[in-house]
């Protein structure tokens, strides 16, 4: 079985792109499923199911989405194996631009859109910098020059990634990405695999439910700004 981790900022078009890619793979009789990781709520399960795609939803609630991902990914893989999927795609929103669900030796994809501005590739952390494939969306609504500048900036941020333009509405480019997915390495179990990058850490009093503001209520891993 193959596993692909897809991550990207909210509204970059991850779901649309994934659906188009899966449609192309379904044409080749492959059974593909999705696990969507989100925080508060998501309607994406309905979107996937409408297309006949097996989908599961995981809501992290008050847990850091990254931590939630890594503590569940193995079970997700087992779910996919039980359902005899050929390929499992995980989808997660990199909410703090630091979130990176990417695993070493597992194909990693970052989806980012042209409308997010040319400086965005610099601001996104390991989710973009450590991805194998960067999919750029919404190219049809910006000018050719902006597309070129944006792709250049992505290349600066992650010089080794393959950069592909995909249109989430027409599906242009999705078939080609599907071909790349098919070539990814097979994964049977994730035990002893490593994340590509460590998770953001906190463990401060607010992690434990503190709501009051003030010096006296701040404990643990607290970082202070330099306002001098």
């Amino acid at each position: 079985m193959q596993l692909i981790t897809v991550a990207g900022p909210p509204s970059a078009g991850k779901t649309s792109v994934i659906i188009k890619i899966i449609e192309a793979l379904q044409d080749e009789k492959l059974k593909v499923g999705v696990v969507k990781f989100d925080c508060l709520s998501t309607q994406d399960q309905i979107l996937y199911q409408k297309k006949g795609i097996e989908a599961k939803i995981g809501l992290s609630g008050n847990i850091c989405p990254d931590h939630f991902f890594v503590s569940n990914i193995q079970d997700c893989l087992a779910w996919a194996q039980k359902n005899k999927l050929d390929l499992l795609i995980t989808e997660s929103a990199g909410l703090c631009n630091r979130c990176s669900p990417h695993i070493r030796n597992v194909m990693a994809v970052c989806v980012i859109d042209n409308l997010s501005g040319v400086n965005t590739p610099r601001k996104v952390g390991p989710m973009l910098k450590l991805a194998d494939i960067v999919i750029i969306t919404k190219g049809d609504i910006v000018s050719q020059a902006e597309r070129e500048v944006f792709a250049f900036r992505v290349k600066q941020a992650n010089p080794s990634a393959m950069i592909v333009h995909v249109n989430g509405i027409t599906g242009q480019g999705a078939r080609e990405v599907g071909q790349m997915f098919k070539k990814s390495e097979s994964v049977e179990s994730l035990t002893d695999y490593h994340l590509r990058f460590s998770m953001p850490a906190a463990t401060c009093s607010y992690c434990l439910g503190q709501t009051r503001i003030g010096q006296n209520f701040q404990m643990g891993n607290v970082r202070k700004m330099d306002l001098s």
Binding site: G117, L130, S143, Q144, A145, E148, V149, M162, V164
Partner: protein
């Protein structure tokens, strides 16, 4: 490469490779001056800062080297594309296309066919440099040969620039800043010169004048398209330009196409506009997802272009009259249509 870079001071690095500044711009601003060496700079970044950046020290170094190598590559001259060849596959019903079509640099080829007939698929096959690995089983050759497949994913070898109908600008920049930004991403040296060419040319195509300090978001539809076409002609590294119809309003379309072919672009245009279609050297007719015919524009058709252009100008004149608040009482079609 590391051996030569590591001993340079940051100052030397930036003066020799100005683009390297882009890499450092997102890195923590160390207290040290630009006099420290590249190696010292990387060694001195604190562990906490690396954590915040979301990258390890070795990975950051690797990325820096890769960045420098890739940016240097952008400057290298690319293989000149003289021609592309489409080797036919099959249509939706599996019927063979039986075609071998070569398009030369500086040629305009139009693509005609009803909506949903497979025009986009043909354009996508060319963009992806299909190698019998798309639903149509077409194969694309570059300069008569199998291409280097890295053009599929690499920014610097992208074959196709696309000019679509809705060409919005979203950046909050002036025309001058915008074109500079594009030129810088191409690693060009004579930026000022190219910039003035582009702005002058765009003004020529648009008719309505704009200045370098006009914000791009306030350009009119015609001005935006004109700027886009001029920018693509001068600055896009892609040898093939795909055009999804050019609207008639506010832009001299014949001049726009001529500019692109003067720059030795291969122009592929999906259009049903008779003037644009006849400006092409050939027309590809698509039916049921396949190329069913290729028509060479005949002498007779070219002659008709003159009449069509006159009709077009008449239409434009009437539109202009309407715009300026005039009345359209009589339309004298003083055109001999034979």
């Amino acid at each position: 490469m590391w051996d030569s870079l590591s001993l340079m001071t940051l100052k030397q690095l930036f003066s020799k490779y100005p683009y390297a500044m882009d890499f450092f711009s997102s890195l923590p601003n160390l207290q040290q001056s630009e006099e420290c060496s590249v190696a010292q700079y990387f060694a001195a970044i604190e562990e906490d800062a690396l954590q915040d950046l979301g990258i390890g020290r070795q990975e950051l170094l690797d990325q820096f080297l890769l960045f420098m190598i890739q940016m240097e590559k952008l400057k290298e001259d690319k293989i000149k594309i003289q021609s592309i060849t489409i080797l036919g596959g099959n249509d939706k019903y599996g019927k063979s296309e039986e075609i071998e079509l070569t398009i030369q640099a500086g040629e305009i080829v139009c693509i005609v066919g009803p909506t949903g007939s497979g025009k986009s698929r043909l354009l996508a096959d060319i963009e992806w440099v299909a190698q019998e690995d798309t639903p149509t089983n077409r194969k694309i050759l570059i300069n008569g040969q199998l291409p280097d497949m890295k053009c599929r994913y690499s920014v610097e070898h992208k074959l196709v620039a696309q000019l679509s109908q809705n060409m919005n600008f979203i950046m909050d920049l002036t025309v001058d800043e915008f074109v500079s930004m594009h030129a810088e991403s191409r690693m060009l040296e004579n930026i000022e010169e190219i910039k003035s060419h582009i702005i002058a040319k765009a003004n020529e195509l648009a008719g309505e004048q704009f200045t370098p300090d006009t914000p791009i978001t306030s350009l009119s539809g015609g001005q935006s398209r004109a700027l886009m076409i001029a920018d693509t002609a001068y600055l896009s590294s892609s040898p093939i330009v795909l055009i999804d119809e050019i609207e008639n309003a506010g832009i001299d379309r014949q001049k726009a196409l001529r500019l692109l072919i003067d720059k030795q672009k291969i122009v592929l245009m999906a259009t049903h506009d008779p003037i644009l279609a006849l400006m092409g050297d050939k027309r590809i007719v698509i039916k049921n997802g396949g190329i069913c015919r290729v028509i060479e524009t005949s002498e007779k058709e070219r002659e008709n272009l003159v009449t069509l252009t006159r009709i077009d100008q008449k239409m434009l004149a009437i539109r202009e009259l309407l715009r300026s608040g005039g009345q359209i009482d009589n339309i004298l079609l003083d055109i001999q249509i034979t």
